[in-house]
């Protein structure tokens, strides 16, 4: 366990974060953008847990932040999917460029 330092796990979570950012910038479909947001939130959770494990192992704060992030991500995904389904009903598309009624 001592062989792998905190840097390696933070490297992995950084790569995961920027993959999520790339997906968020390039995808134009709402569901795939939501998937990118889930990847970003996961990388943040991984950071919290690894910092708690390696640097502040006399506290549990990272674990609590991870638990609350997972809970709020579930709520956020449910609301986003309700909005997407409602949007699909009125526009027949979930492409983000097509739904521009509020834009102008």
């Amino acid at each position: 366990m001592k062989v792998i330092g905190i840097e390696h796990i933070v490297f992995v979570s950084t790569v995961l974060f920027f993959i999520g950012i790339y997906g968020f910038l390039t995808r134009r479909n709402m569901i795939t953008m939501l998937m990118s947001i889930e990847l970003i939130l996961n990388s943040v959770c991984l950071n919290f847990v690894s910092f708690n494990k390696f640097l502040y192992h006399d506290k549990l704060e990272g674990v609590f932040f991870t638990l609350f992030i997972i809970t709020i991500a579930a709520a956020e995904a449910a609301v986003a999917i309700a909005i997407i389904i409602n949007l699909y009903r009125s526009y027949k598309t979930i492409d983000i460029e097509e739904a521009d009624e509020l834009k102008f």
């Binding site: 790569v15 569901i31 939501l34 192992h57 006399d58 674990v63 609350f68 999917i81 389904i85």
Partner: protein
Amino acid sequence: MDISVIIFYIISVVITGGALLAVTSKQIFRAAVYLIFSLLGVASMYFYLENNFIAAVQIVVYVGGIVVLIIFSIFLTQNSGHRLKKPDGKRVFFSALSVLSALLLTLNVIGNYNFKSNSNNTIEPEIKNIGMQMLSTTQYGYLLPFEVVSFLLLAAMIGCIVIALKRN
């Protein structure tokens, strides 16, 4: 080479490879399946870090809840064999450029930073310790955020029903 190092690299490859395929796959259903692999990789990384409770929550909420929700919404909004529109080349180029430069900068900063721990005793992240601190009302207890999150979940549930309700 130590076996735990090999396991760590396998988990890392699963996480990053699944995420990369999830954001670049042309078929949206395949992207959701690759997302499952990435999330399971994150869960196994929690197991690797000996945070069993967080790993269980990750599997139950993400893989069992959110991905199933995403797959249902894919089925409800488009036919699953349908190929996604190709993003235009200029956007892909500039996104990849900015993401790569930010990634290299961040990796450089992390590689040069000297992480050191100055805490001595250890609290094991067991369910008992987590539950005791989560529901304690004393200092550093998390009862109030717990209640706030429960209200947030209730509000999100009612909001979803109201938004997705079919109007006639």
